[in-house]
Amino acid sequence: MTKPILKLLFVLPLLMAPLPASLASQAAAAEAELSKVTLFVEGMMKSRGGVT
């Protein structure tokens, strides 16, 4: 009865090992789809005392 459980306990970490790498690559892929830009907005801070 204990043998299958022991086997599972042994195998489970092996099965889960690729998971972080997979999640990391998915996150990287999601990030790669985003672009980045710096925009100038004239008088953004001065005219209205803040932007938020």
């Binding site: 789809e33 985003l34 672009s35 980045k36 830009v37 710096t38 925009l39 100038f40 907005v41 004239e42 008088g43 953004m44 801070m45 001065k46 005219s47 209205r48 932007v51 938020t52």
Partner: protein, 175 residues
């Protein structure tokens, strides 16, 4: 405005505001929004997407009229002599997007090799504000290609992949 642009960009709280420079950096999903949409949203909020300059710089620009400011004027003179195109990279030391572009695209070996065929110049928007205003730099990084007469024939604002930029440059070189 930050909240409105963040929502427009399809991201949450990925905007970094540079209070002293009237500028902000944001991540955005190009599938959801483009730069024109953002410019329209900024105008809709009562602002103008434009590089801020002091009165002194503005009056100097007005006096200069249509004359091309330095350092671009010198690069254009070189380009005319050598029969080359001019490649301008408008950036700033504090521009996060510019650093990403440099690392991912401009330092790419194929791109760097292609750029050797042009007169290449980096233009710091802090140091050369008149040149930045002359070419209507609203966002960074902005890449421009000018022909030897100074006519703008290519503009890219924001990030671009090495293959896209290389293709665009080679298309311009083969004209």
């Amino acid at each position: 405005m930050v909240a409105a642009l963040s929502e427009l960009a399809g991201v949450d709280e990925d905007i970094e505001v540079f209070l002293d420079r009237d500028a902000f950096t944001l991540d955005y999903d190009p599938a959801l929004v483009n730069l024109e949409d953002m410019y329209t949203a900024i105008r809709g909020l009562g602002y103008e997407p434009r590089l801020s300059a002091g009165e002194e710089v503005e009056s100097a620009i007005a006096e200069a009229g249509a004359a091309v400011p330095e350092p671009v004027a010198t690069a254009l003179a070189t380009a005319k002599t050598e029969g080359k195109l001019v490649f301008l990279d408008f950036y700033a030391e504090w521009c996060l997007a510019c650093k990403v572009l440099e690392e991912n695209t401009l330092l790419d070996s194929a791109v760097a090799s292609t750029l050797e065929k042009l007169v290449s110049l980096t233009v710091d928007t802090d140091l050369y504000t008149p040149a930045s205003l002359h070419y209507n730099i609203v966002g960074m990084p902005t890449l421009l290609v000018l022909d030897s007469d100074g006519t703008e024939i290519y503009r890219s604002v924001g990030l671009i992949t090495p293959s896209e930029l290389n293709q665009a440059l080679n298309d311009l070189l083969s004209r």
